[in-house]
Structure formats: structure tokens, C-alpha cells
């Protein structure tokens, strides 16, 4: 998908030049992204493990929904309290649904999960963070994205545009073990002009506790 996005960026440059030129809004809309734009389209973020980088952008107060655990899996210590931690890279006899496709050559389970306290995540510097703050873990290696997330640009915030907001955790959108965003089934297309009489009904579908009504068409 990286490749795809990058190509889009390039495709658009010509059109953008046209489009951007005229518009001076009352707010300076043209200030480029720091570090120069143009060639940063589609760049792959180098993993930067720097605590310094993060402190440049202080953490706002962050509330999030609960971590999206599978049912019954948490607390992990319900099993792991009685299990010897095993840092060996191996085929697991449990958690077999987990396939690690995330910087796999360099990393294994206990780089992120704490060996001693399985209910906690573990940062590179050995610090523990709870699953409710898993963004701290992701932020170690994805600094720029983390900063954009804090500013409300990467990822999503709901709530009040003026007041209190709720952030989605990185793991609400990215499976931490195979983080590439998974394709979705699109909602129905609008009725074509010749099919305007084919709307049979609208039915509710619930997405993240929100019900939306989508059309059902005659065949």
C-alpha cells in the first residue's frame, strides 16, 4: 500500500500545483510541512527510538476506549502467572492465531510484552506501560506518526471539536502483530439514475456502536 500511496502523491503533484497556487486563505494554508515537502510523499518512516523526540510534543490528556482485546484473554496473568516466560523465538502451541508480520526479523514477542508481568507492555528502556497506553509503545518506533496522532491528524478522535476528545488507540486500527490496515467491504453504491426506482428498503448496520442505514436494492 505504501507503493500505491506514493504513486498517488506523484500523480497529484501536477494537479496540486494548479490547485494550490491561487489560494491564500486568511490563515496561512501554504506553509509546508517541516523538512520540506514534495519528496516526503510516501516516505517510509525510519524507526526512531528516541525518548527525546517524543518530549518535544508533550502528551495531551488522552482518553481512549478500552483496548480491543479478544474476549477472555485479559488479564494475561490468569494463565501467565503460572507459566515460565520463554523468550525463545519458536512456533507457539498457544496463541496460534497470532502471526507476527511487523518488523519480524528484528523483533519477537517479549520485545513488546513484558516477560515478568504479562499484563504490561514493555518499552525499549525497560519501562512498563499498561495496555490502555499502548500508543507509548508504538510511539517509540513511529515518532512522527505518534506526533500526528497526538495532534489529532493521524488516527481518529471523537467527542467534542472544542472540548474533550476520545482518541482511538493505534491498535483499534492496526493489529499490533500485523499492522497493515485491513481492507473493508464498502457500503452499497448510490442508485444509478436509471435505477432510482430500485431502492427496496434501508436497513441498519451497527459500526462501533453507531447505527447507519444503508439501502437495499432490487436485483
Amino acid at each position: 500500500m505504501y507503493i500505491k500511496r506514493k504513486a498517488i502523491g506523484i500523480f497529484f503533484v501536477s494537479v496540486l500545483l494548479l490547485a494550490i497556487s491561487g489560494g491564500q486563505f486568511y490563515i496561512n494554508a501554504e506553509e509546508g510541512r517541516q523538512g520540506g515537502h514534495g519528496n516526503d510523499a510516501g516516505h517510509k518512516e525510519p524507526p526512531v527510538r528516541s525518548a527525546e523526540k517524543l518530549s518535544e510534543h508533550p502528551l495531551p490528556e488522552i482518553t481512549t476506549p478500552k483496548p480491543p482485546f479478544s474476549e477472555g484473554i485479559f488479564p494475561c496473568t490468569s494463565c501467565h502467572a503460572g507459566l515460565e516466560p520463554n523468550a525463545q523465538r519458536r512456533e507457539l502451541g498457544f496463541h496460534t492465531d497470532i502471526v507476527l508480520v511487523h518488523s519480524t526479523k528484528q523483533r519477537w514477542c517479549l520485545d513488546c510484552h513484558d516477560a515478568q508481568d504479562r499484563d504490561m507492555l514493555r518499552l525499549a528502556n525497560g519501562e512498563h506501560v499498561p495496555f490502555t497506553k499502548s500508543y507509548m509503545l508504538c510511539g517509540q518506533c513511529h515518532g512522527p506518526t505518534f506526533n500526528e496522532w497526538k495532534a489529532g491528524v493521524h488516527g481518529k478522535r471523537t467527542g467534542s471539536w472544542e472540548g474533550k476528545k476520545e482518541y482511538r488507540l493505534c491498535v483499534h486500527c492496526h493489529n499490533p502483530h500485523s499492522p497493515r490496515y485491513k481492507p473493508l467491504k464498502p457500503s452499497p453504491m448510490p442508485a444509478r439514475p436509471q435505477d432510482i426506482n430500485k431502492v427496496l428498503d434501508t436497513v441498519g448496520v451497527t459500526i462501533e456502536n453507531q447505527t447507519i442505514y444503508i439501502p437495499v436494492y432490487k436485483k
Partner: protein, 307 residues
Amino acid sequence: MDRRKFIKSMAVGAAATAVPLNQSDASFFDTFFQKYYREMTKEEKEEVVQRLEAEYKAKYGKDIKVGTEEHIPGVLFGYALDLSRCIGCRRCVYACVTENNQSRNPQIHYIQVLRFRRGTSEGEHWIAGASGVSNLEESVKYYDPPLVPQEEHFYMPVQCQQCENPPCVKACPTQATYKTRDGIVVVDYNWCIGCRYCMAACPYDARKLNWAEPYIPKEQINPVTHYLGNRPRMKGCVEKCFFCIQRVRAKERRYPACVEICPVGARKFGNLLDPSSEIRYIMAHERVFRLKEELNTSPKFFYFFSI
């Protein structure tokens, strides 16, 4: 020219079809001679709201609240959409239909999601191009694969661009459509005569006419509404996106429905006058552009590529 004079000056037959009313309704007289919302006193608004609420109760069998929240001082609403993230899933389209009580049949959508194929000029006129109303090519709007995003494609949702310099407002002979002080372009449906001049004037194809009586199943009505927003509409009036005025002006200051539903977080909304808002962050840090910039409509709807 005021509304009544305008109607008079039109051919009688044409005017009759354009009057957006259910003529059998007892409140026909009140409705027809209702004042222009923008000029109403608080008391007059209150009266109109009560009449409408009673009408809606009779029609839909439930309590529908019609709000009249004013603009918020010091606020100018702006919107930004991250084209690097949009996957074309259309959830925004139906979150909007649901929140804003659009007619299900005939179908009215405020948001059109356009699909572009990389390396072709498919749909390019949407971005630049000074043509008036664009003819949407079928391939651009009617895609239906099992999964999105598709390789080699990207997606661009288009809705009312909330122009600072709105051609629709200039075209409207009755001033039924106007720009409010928080920047939202609204329609006073009771004042709209359905002449569709605004639709012809809009370069973004954002305005939709109720050419038949709108239909919404009673149980699907959203009962929290605003006079200038999602209150139930009638045959013959034009409507379009109004930034979910009933949500954004509410005391909770909620985000628009399309922002909240977007699974990838591509949609951003906030106060352009507040330097700490996410919308201002985007203006300062991303390469933003606007559709058909050369038309000088000056939209408050921005597009950007975060990568």
C-alpha cells in the same frame, strides 16, 4: 426582490409545482406566509418551531426536536480530508443520510465518493477545471468491489465545500440559502422555491432537490434536529451538507457524523479561528489544497495528503 414578488413574477403553473408544501395540511397558510427565518425574532422562531414540531409529530408519530441554536461567536468552521487515508468505504455517506434525515427514496446523498484510477484523467475535472456543474462519469461514482481500497485507485469524497464566497448564495433569487456567521451555508427550506438556480451555480454538485415527497421510515428518523439543518424536508426544496449544524452548534460541540464514522480517521473538523484546533494544525503542517481553486469560491473544505 423578496420571495412573494419572485413567486408572482414566475409563471403561475411553474410556481405552483415549486411550492414546497403539503397543501392538505391545516397549517398550510402559516407555512406559506411564514417569515424569513433570518429575520425572525426569538419569539417568532419559537412559534415556528412549535408549529413544525406539531407537524412532524403528526407525520412521524414521534417527538422531533427542532433546534434554533445560533452561531457561536469566535468560531469559523473548517473541514479537512486526508486523501492519503480515505479508502472509499462510503460509511460517511450513510452516516450522513442517517444523521441528517435524507430521503431514502428517492435517494438523496450529500456525500459523493469519487474513485480515481491512478495514471488516468478519470474524474480529474473535479480537482481543477472551471466547468460549471460537472457530469459525473459513471465509472467515477459507481464502484462496487468486494473490498476497498482497490489497488491502483484512490478515493475522494465530495460534499458541500462551505465556500466563503458561495456561488449558490448569489444565485438564489429568494435568499433562502445564505452563509451564517460561523461560515456554514444553510438553506431555509420554507423559503426555498425549488428553482434550482443554486444547483446550477454550484461547481461541486453538492446540492440536491427533493423532486418527490421525501421518504424515511418512521423508526429511522433522527429526532434531534435544527431548523437550518436536518429537520424533515418537504417536496420541492433543495438541501445539502450543513456541517451537521445540529451537532456542531449543540452545547456538547459534537463532531459531524461523517467525522465520527470514518474508520480511517481521514475526516477532520474544527474551528479555523482557534490556533490549537486540529484543523489549524493541518493548515500549518500539511500540504492542503481546495477543489477548483481558480473559481475563487474559497471553500472552507480542505483536502490534503498526509503522506
